[in-house]
Amino acid sequence: MADDTTVDPVEAQVLDGNAVAGLLAAAFGVEMTEVPGACAHCGTVSMVGELRAYVRAPGTVLRCPACSGVVLRVVETPSATLIDVRGAAYLRFERG
């Protein structure tokens, strides 16, 4: 909030995985915010919608809410979407 002076300015800009849900859905072909994934750093399982999204950068960095480790990085170029998944031990997709 504009009148908030007690929060770190970077942390105050943090969004969540919902902020890039359209981009992820377009890349993966399915709705992603309810997809659980395990953080490769600490093992915590979070839904993609729960990941912390740092959007004030070239691309978006999605971090684990428990350990702040990078889980996914998403970059759009004029012709493609690149998703770095090294920080995810797994993503779990339920079959219809």
């Binding site: 929060v7 919902n18 902020a19 359209g22 915010t33 919608g49 959007v55 004030r56 978006t60 759009e76």
Partner: protein, 248 residues
């Protein structure tokens, strides 16, 4: 039709909600409906090919067919919201994709239809929660529901009259306002930012079997979610959505 595909929507109505917030009705061909709490992406493309996308929560209830309402605050240094507020007129066409999201969704079906519902909003974070309240009213749900809504000034309270009338229907909805910057003479509501004590007081009548949705600026979401966890609400019953400009 593939919900992820871009398609052209037509602006069919624009109305003021507050001095800086407007609602926009978009008619979307083949719109397959949405769930309360979902959003859409809008894409604007300039003549030189430069394009910008933003996510906006859907404000309208799923019961309305073929069109959606978006409620958008004008951000002075934004790229998309000033265009929507200052340039777009009824009849214009805009690229839309969606509905998107499944994590921040409330439906008047299954256990959710009867469980107590605790909604916390800051400013335009009320938009997806309004979709839930409109859906709740249209579906005839009577589950105990409270909305704690933080705004800076009374004249900035989005949907103020509609919230008053929804709360007056005695269907189990109560709306609790807090005004953080200025309060009119005789104001009986809260007059400070949301804190642990306010969350505890407003949640109390609903109890720990509640399901909670929190949407607003990051700082407000953190305060409210942490307060609920400390009060003992299970983490899987708390859903949050932080809003702000997305950098796509």
């Amino acid at each position: 039709m593939n919900p992820i595909a871009w398609r052209l929507a037509t602006m069919t109505a624009i109305r003021d909600e507050t001095p800086t917030v407007r609602s926009f009705t978009l008619s979307i061909p083949d719109w397959g409906g949405h769930r309360a709490g979902q959003h859409v992406d809008l894409r604007l493309t300039a003549e030189d090919g430069y394009s910008v996308e933003r996510s906006y929560s859907i404000a309208s209830e799923p019961e309305r067919a073929g069109e959606i309402d978006l409620t958008v605050e004008r951000i002075d240094d934004g790229e998309v919201s000033p265009f929507l507020h200052d340039v777009v007129v009824v009849g214009d066409r805009i690229e839309v994709r969606g509905p998107i999201g499944g994590y921040f969704v409330w439906e008047a079906a299954g256990p959710m239809a009867t469980e107590p519902l605790f909604l916390v909003a800051g400013g335009s974070g009320v938009v997806p929660l309004m979709a839930m309240l409109r859906h709740r009213a249209r579906s005839g749900a009577h589950n105990p529901t409270r909305l704690l809504f933080s705004s800076r000034h009374l004249e900035e309270v989005i949907y103020r009259e509609e919230l008053d009338s929804l709360a007056a229907t005695s269907d189990g909805l109560e709306v609790v306002h807090t005004l953080t910057r200025s309060q009119p003479a005789g104001w009986m509501g809260y007059n400070r930012r949301i804190d642990d004590r306010m969350i505890a007081d407003v949640l109390a009548p609903l109890g720990m079997g509640s399901r909670s949705f929190i949407c607003g600026p990051t700082a407000l979401v953190e305060v409210a979610a942490n307060a609920l966890v400390r009060l003992g609400l299970p983490g899987d019953r708390i859903r949050t959505e932080r809003f702000g400009p997305t950098g796509t």
